[in-house]
Symmetry: C2
Subunit: 374 residues, 2 copies
């Protein structure tokens, strides 16, 4: 994708669209963050985008994000300055100002809110993120693999409650922050993983904002040409179409601060007679066929597009009758390491499957289908 | 009670005993805190006790405490320096050192742990507290009535997790701190309600350490003379014996970070044939007779002594077969104000009774009993 060097108002629409796709169903609808970013850019001008390599080694890079269940975020809108409050609280503890803002995940609300914060704070934003997609828990970032601590972490809500957490490790940080998020009403604005430019260069996934922006432009372009973006995205992202079907059942609950559940899809067209089950915890984490065999497994990406409009579909929007295309995309290679799979593989989220790359699963499935036909 | 001017090792036994009595069944067994304080006093010498009036107006007074369910505190012992860690974290946020330590409640573990912290930090302790007894929730202190904020509040656990909370009010502080306490394993060490000497003079209940110490000496003296301390304590504290009975049922659960439940007592001697129900949330909050009529209601004190040994009995120790004397004591007059009852009356804890002072309830009961006999 073409690198983006600054974010203008006009860039926010494709970024929100690309963020909804890479959100893999989670991360919240980027729309609210898009509005916040547009408003902030109107007031202060475009946000410069920094390549990770351009960071000073001693620069202070701070990810900001919204934490919580997307089902809650739909109804509990941020007041507007909570993320900046969290950033200021973290800066106060660190005794210095941030030099650049960072997206913790490349998807959902958290691909747009940091842009609003960067604009409001007059800071550049780094072209990278910690996941290369969205994940449900905050320790699931590449920085964890490089020993970078999530704490000190600042949290703020729309009522004015705030706190600074110093947990002993990133998993403990997730657990404490999650119960506080629930007590904050299910969603909180956070600033965490403060890191130096040197640490960012080692640990983060690069080019994520350019990628999100590029994906958004592809989706918009294909939509304008009346084509579903699924094929073009699969080609450009080394992914594959896994299934076309109609949502026939959604079992969703907001539990422990997450939107958890599963959805059943009945096949359409060449998948008629087949079934797909999608399991999610904020994000789509497992896609299984009617025999229970996996078609795609976290940390690989499972992305849904509306069959007619080509719009990305999030877990909290999904409802009976939606006709969708399910695509699988390989995750960043960092996630396929032993450490990456321990952090974000199917086992961590309680699914029985042993991780196999989506491209291998699709090859297996194809071979089996061929044998069945023979 | 005679004012105490410093706390030596020898004072810790009566303080732990008096603290167990004023704990009104809650606040945790003071024994662990007694051992910690004795150890600290051995190392650093006696702890000076300051009358509230002797505080400099600008002195920084910091209450430290253990927060959580007493049932958990029985098994999850503090490592030893968590309270000091919490104190240091709070001092760091405030940008200054504490000048004196303060007991948030006059009962249970929290009447002994602050002495250990004061000894370890080389600070005096104030002769006062925020409750004049123990209460289950942290906003239930006289400081709340005077608009003093519980935040910033520091929390620490034995694993090394810590945080600093800035909630918008004292009830929100309780709610956030409670979920964090549960996540910390059910018990946490805290430093909060930082206040000036001037604020302390306005708001705190005075003479509490001297009172605890005096009560402990009375209990020990009566025990030595083979008398149950109940009568002497009732006389000295303007209280009354409410019931003698045998515990026949205890329903106790650790829920939402509290030890909640109720106990049934069958009457002995002159109460033979009668029944008493004690309802508790960490502390005993309601005592009802067999008709459901109240004999004593929070914020008045409901204190249990073992019928034979005269030892105070806490809610978490209470078990089938215990033979006890139940006494009722009037609370500090501050609690009987409209604001005090809103904070700590039976309605706040979800009990239907309208608050009536224990001395009026006993008078009513006495009159009804007389009419029954006539």
């Amino acid at each position: 994708m073409t690198p983006i060097s600054r974010i203008t108002r006009a860039d926010m629409a494709p970024i929100a669209l690309g963020g909804a796709f890479l959100g893999t169903g989670g991360g919240g609808d980027p729309f609210i963050g898009r509005l916040m970013a547009e408003q902030a850019i109107d007031a202060t001008g475009p946000v410069p985008v920094l390549d990770v390599a351009a960071l000073d080694d001693d620069a202070l890079v701070v990810p900001v994000a919204m934490m919580g269940a997307p089902t809650v975020m739909l109804e509990k809108l941020p007041r507007g300055d909570e993320a900046t409050c969290a950033l200021r609280a973290l800066e106060a503890v660190l005794g210095r100002k941030a030099d650049a803002i960072f997206c913790i995940e490349a998807g959902g609300l958290n691909s747009t809110i940091p842009i609003a914060v960067a604009a409001a704070a007059g800071l550049p934003i780094v072209d990278g993120d910690g996941m290369g997609r969205a994940f449900p828990e905050l320790q699931m970032v590449s920085m964890t693999m490089f020993g970078i601590h999530a704490c000190p972490m600042a949290m703020a809500d729309e009522k004015g409650n705030a706190l600074v957490l110093n947990a002993i490790d990133n998993l403990s940080t997730e657990r404490f922050a999650r119960v506080v998020t629930v007590e904050m009403g299910g969603a909180a604005l956070i600033a965490f993983y403060p890191m130096t430019g040197r640490q960012a260069k080692q640990s983060v996934l690069r080019g994520s904002l350019s990628l999100i922006h590029g994906i958004g432009r592809i989706i918009a372009g294909e939509q304008a040409a009346n084509r579903n973006p699924a094929d073009r995205l699969a080609r450009d992202l080394n992914g594959m179409r896994l299934f076309e079907g109609r949502v026939t059942d959604v079992n969703r609950r907001t539990e422990g601060g997450f939107a958890r559940g599963q959805a059943r899809l009945d096949g359409l067209d060449r998948h008629a007679g087949c079934r797909l089950t999608l399991k999610f915890q904020n994000e789509f984490l497992v896609a299984e066929d009617e025999t229970g065999a996996p078609l795609a497994l976290t940390p690989d990406l499972i992305c849904l597009l509306d069959l007619e409009t080509g719009q990305p579909i999030t877990t909290e929007q999904m409802a009976y009758g939606f006709r969708v295309i399910v695509s699988g995309m390989p995750c960043d290679p960092k996630w396929r390491s032993a450490q990456g799979l321990q952090l974000a593989g199917p086992g961590y989220s309680g699914y029985d499957h042993r991780y196999t790359p989506v491209e291998a699963l699709t090859r297996q499935k194809h071979t089996i289908d061929m044998e069945d036909q023979a």
